[in-house]
Amino acid sequence: METMAQQAPVVKPDPRAHPSGDKRFKMLDAAMKRHQFESDALLEILHQAQELFGFLSDDVLIYVGRALKAPLSRVYGVATFYNFFTLKPKGAHTCTVCLGTACYVKGASEILDGLRKAYDVKPGETTRDGQLSVVVARCVGACGIAPAVAFDSDVHGKQTKASVLARVAPWMERT
């Protein structure tokens, strides 16, 4: 039995597969297949890729472009056009501060100010230890409970500078 297992036929690598052997590329393949490798579905596929990898690296963009037979200029153009896509890796945790009108009027900028002073991190940046990314959102639609802040994907309403810092502090201690 053992010898048979050793003699198992060598699996030919799929020429289209990613050379790193990263399983997430296989999952991305499945997503592209669902859309029949149509380049019209580029947005859906980039959404999926970002969900899998956390951000869109050059490698991922090239891979998607090849699979969809779309020029890299187009893939890169779309990825950089939309705010939702990020080409840089994010921190271990994300604090998303809503800057919609209602949240702005109710003092969301003070929260950003507090984060900047406490951790030296501006909107769109990640702390040097890679623990915390601060992101601003263009209205998460929770205006009734403004100001709203999302800790990772957990939205909390009626936030203050103090309540946000209290919630972020445990993330920062884990280094």
């Binding site: 947005l43 980039l46 959404h47 939702f84 959102a137 263009r138 998460v140 409970i145």
Partner: protein, 556 residues
């Protein structure tokens, strides 16, 4: 599904409903969810199960109940359907939920949390679009069918021709709820007359205005109403494929929509030969990726096709040449949500609501410096004073009302002297703002209007897609000028420059984003010029918001 099967579900559901003595609806919209609605729902379900009351008490999640600031909201209907008594509880949390429910079932009302359903907040509203929101379980299609969902589609497919439907919608006087107010019937007529084998229907759910959450609430609370409206539209114009373009920032709405589409497909309310007619209709979701400009219809089409969301010149209008060059009907979520009721009750019925030129109701999202922040639906033509003070409960902390902003970054503000203005498309235009999609942000004496104008211009500057120069460069220049004003570096001539640029952007930009970007500036200059002058001449901010060159720390 055929007519009998639909009727069968309705009867079964109504019988089930009649057997239940108490119906508990826990608000499970995004606002209340972030205040802990999930825990409340669990606690109440647990209590009902533990007490062995599953047969007589029904507990389910529902769409937005309106009073978002007082979440989690719970609504309890007791008694036979039709003659039930209704109580609402506010500020319910996982800890007090079970106690509150048990008390209520024993006839003891928790007065500290109770809100009378005839409180002014509810009494002045009229719900059409939000009719099912707060009553239906949006994750259960049978529950929705039991309450009347898909009856209008059934009526349209079995009793009406497609031109009958267009006629009915035209007669209703319904106008596009996305903001511009284009007559819906006219748009439908254009698409239906276009000769093409393939046509599309698109639901614009890219609610990008900061401070607006009407569409989100409708999608979360009653997704089947939107699907039904789209299906009726597709039948009327002769389309067989629909897309819903929804913001990526609304994960809950996306989840509920996906579920609703799946359930409707399984029930054969979407798909081939709906109600055994010759009508086929499929709906797919397209998720936006955070670009405000994609709310503009030609940019939205680009985005659905997987391109950068940049607008193109019109004409040709999407009604003639839209998605992949085919005739395409694009309506807003709220517009589609009005359709089932119009088909069911007739255009003449709908036309009687509201004002002669602005018929029906409008959903508003109340936010900012107002006591009752939340979601409301009122007949068109109600005065701003009624909306803000009777329904909205006035300004917190006894502060003075300064202005209300409508239409987001494309709109303008309404100052105190126009509080008695009836809210309809024309009246709002007369005072220099627009209906917009329904965001209503209230500002009090501690809000600086110059800072608000700068905020909106910064928004437009960042969201400008960069295709045409007036918008790409103009928004930057206008923002710089406004920045100078709030920092106390501006000179008086800068206001003339702002006015000149505003005119330029309005006349020469390619799409709505650039054309309307100056509106907040023009409108604040019109009503609050003194605030601009105070910043420029006296170097002070009347509201005490802007630091004006002083270091913020010292000022604080």
């Amino acid at each position: 599904m055929n007519s009998e099967e639909l009727q069968h579900i309705v009867e079964r559901k109504q019988a089930e409903r009649a057997a239940v003595r108490h119906r508990v609806c826990v608000c499970a919209a995004a606002g209340c969810q972030s205040l802990g609605a999930e825990g409340v729902l669990e606690a109440m379900r647990g209590a009902v199960k533990a007490d062995g009351l599953a047969g007589s008490v029904e507990v389910h999640g529902t769409g937005c109940l309106g009073l978002c600031h007082a979440g989690t909201m719970v609504q309890i209907d007791s008694g036979a359907p039709g003659e039930e008594s209704r109580i609402l509880y506010e500020r319910v949390d996982a800890e007090n939920a079970a106690l509150l429910l048990r008390g209520h079932l024993e006839g003891r009302r928790d007065e500290a949390h109770a809100v009378a359903p005839d409180a002014p907040f509810f009494a002045h509203q009229r719900r059409i679009v939000l009719e099912g929101s707060g009553r239906l379980d949006p994750e259960d299609i049978e529950h929705c069918i039991g309450a009347g969902a898909y009856q209008a589609l059934h009526k349209a497919l079995t009793e009406m021709t497609s031109s009958d439907v267009v006629k009915e919608v035209s007669q209703s006087g319904l106008r596009g709820r996305g903001g511009a107010g284009y007559p819906t019937g006219l748009k439908w007529g254009t698409v239906s007359k276009a000769t093409s084998k393939k046509k599309y229907v698109i639901c614009n759910a890219d609610e990008g205005d900061p401070g607006a959450f009407m569409d989100r609430s409708v999608l979360e609370g009653d997704p089947h109403r939107v699907l039904e409206g789209m299906a009726i539209a597709a039948y009327a114009v002769g389309a067989d494929q629909g897309f819903i373009y929804v913001r990526g920032e609304y994960p809950l709405a996306i989840k509920r929509l996906k579920l609703a589409i799946k359930q409707a497909e399984r029930a054969q309310l979407l798909g081939n030969r709906i109600f055994e007619s010759g009508f086929n209709f499929r709906v797919d979701l397209r998720i936006g990726a955070g670009a405000f400009v994609c709310g503009e219809e030609t940019a939205l089409l680009q985005s659905v096709e997987g391109q950068r969301g940049q607008p193109r010149p019109r004409p040709p209008f999407p009604a003639q040449s839209g998605l992949w060059g085919e005739p395409t009907l694009i309506n807003n979520v709220e517009t589609f949500a009005n359709i089932p009721t119009i088909v069911q009750n007739g255009g003449a019925w709908f036309q009687k609501i509201g004002t002669p030129k602005s018929t029906g109701t409008k959903v508003f999202a109340l936010a900012g410096k107002i006591n009752h922040t939340g979601l409301i639906e009122v007949p068109m033509g109600m005065t701003l004073r009624q909306i803000l003070f009777d329904i909205g409960g006035g300004i917190p902390g006894g502060k003075a009302f300064k202005a209300a902003q409508t239409g987001g970054p494309s709109g303008g503000c309404i100052p105190a002297q126009h509080l008695d203005l009836p809210v309809d498309y024309e009246s709002l235009q007369k005072v220099g703002t627009i209906m917009g999609s329904g965001g209503l942000i209230v500002m009090d004496e501690t809000s600086c209007m110059v800072d608000v104008a700068r905020f909106f211009m910064e928004f437009c500057m960042e969201e400008s897609c960069g295709k045409c120069i007036p918008c790409r460069a103009g928004t930057v220049q206008m923002h710089d000028l406004l920045q100078k004003v709030v920092e106390g570096r501006a000179v008086e001539g800068d206001l003339d420059k702002l006015t000149e640029l505003a005119d330029l952007l309005k006349s020469t930009s390619l799409c709505g984003l650039g054309q309307t970007a100056p509106n907040p500036v023009v409108s604040t200059l019109r009503y609050f010029r003194d605030e601009y002058l105070a910043h420029i001449v006296e170097k002070r901010c009347p509201a005490g918001v802007c630091a004006l060159g002083k270091d913020k720390e010292v000022a604080a």
